[in-house]
Amino acid sequence: MRTYYDLSDPDRSEVASQVAVLRGRVAQRLARVRHVVAVASGKGGVGKSYVATALAFGLQSRGARVGLLDADLGGPTVARLSNLDRPPLVIVDQAVAPAITPDGVRVFSAEFLAAPGEPVRWRAPQGDEFVWRGSLEAGLLREMLADVAWGELDLLLIDLPPGAGRLADVHDLVAEIEVLAVTIPSAESFDAVQRALTLARERGMRLLGVIENMVGHSCPACGHGAELFPGDAGQQIAEAFDLGLLARLPMAPQQPALDELAAAVARPLGLP
């Protein structure tokens, strides 16, 4: 019996070419975005969303045009961190308009597509969700990149969920993706972030540097400082991957520390 490629008539479904068209839309939408940077970590609870939001506001205040995409479909928090109320969703130029903060940061989150206080729900056959959930989530990520009116940006920051899987999805869609790693000082965080960065490097993504978060806490009354987690994962990751340790942020950092964070990330990106 003959096989698929033996038959010369066209495949009417053309699934592969349709997928290529959809990917092309991402490239078209992001053609006016200078840098797409994933804020990633193999570990949850290290403050990726906080760092991504702080960076977006910090770089915007330095004169860059910044977008911020919350790609954590399971626990989106960027809208609240950005002090954004749920915006009315409107279509402009065949795309959904992002929310824009008073500072000018363009923000989009899956939270905008869910009912208030409720998780993202899918209209799909219930049971055995593992069959389709992954491709639907990747598809929604693609649409948030391709069908949001990001406009002309110096930088689009993507706040990723924990783990390496979504990072691979983003890289499938945006080949020129750059990665900022966020860790806390602990040894277990080192292990998890190392795994994610190994995947990123194997796939050819450009690694920008490491940000170590929650390195300590100072008492606002007496000024006494104490570490929150034992370890120096930030330094270890930087050495293991030959990267710069761009910033070490204390718990609840003050504005000068956030300004230093923005300046440290602006340098490797060539931003103001």
Binding site: M1, R2, Y4, L7, S8, D9, P10, D11, R12, S13, E14, V15, Q18, V19, V21, L22, R25, P88, L89, I91, Q94, A95, V96, L113, A114, A115, V120, R121, W122, R123, A124, P125, Q126, D128, V131, W132, S135, L136, G139, L140, R142, E143, M144, D147, V148
Partner: protein, 139 residues
């Protein structure tokens, strides 16, 4: 996916696609030589798996008229175990004028409104009442 008529050794031609609304898919092909037809019947999981790629099964083009079609089609399922009211034709027609990417969410707001009040059929009158009571002008 292609279908081969083994007896004629000819590729079968697409003839018809059916989406009956129960999550399944039916696609018919016919052999251009012997005219024999076959139908591929996909269960909801198989249909969902391919649809979740954002492609059109059995089709050959992707319409670019509306952003976020996947989100519009698949987001905002009713919570498992809850019964949904039915919609009359005029209400559905009005609902379909809502942009696709928020249509699911808007539908759910009206459905919740109806469910909480014991309304079994959503009509345009029910939608008007909900808009007034819930402050949903524009939906």
């Amino acid at each position: 996916m292609k279908f081969l008529c083994v007896e004629c050794d000819r590729q079968m031609a697409f003839e018809e696609r059916g989406l009956p609304g129960d999550g399944t898919l039916a696609v018919a092909f016919r052999c251009p030589s012997c005219k024999r037809a076959v139908a591929m019947l996909a269960n909801p999981y198989e249909t969902q798996l391919v649809s979740s790629l954002g492609v059109k099964i059995g089709g050959s083009s992707i319409e670019a008229s509306e952003p976020m079609p996947l989100a519009g089609e698949f987001l905002e399922a009713a919570p498992p175990g809850t019964s949904s009211p039915t919609w009359d034709e005029a209400a559905l027609e009005r609902l379909h004028r809502v942009p696709g990417f928020v249509r699911g969410m808007v539908k759910r707001i009206y459905a919740d409104y109806a469910r909480e009040r014991g309304i079994e059929v959503v009509t345009t009158a029910v939608m008007d009442r909900a808009r007034t009571e819930l402050g949903l002008e524009g939906m």
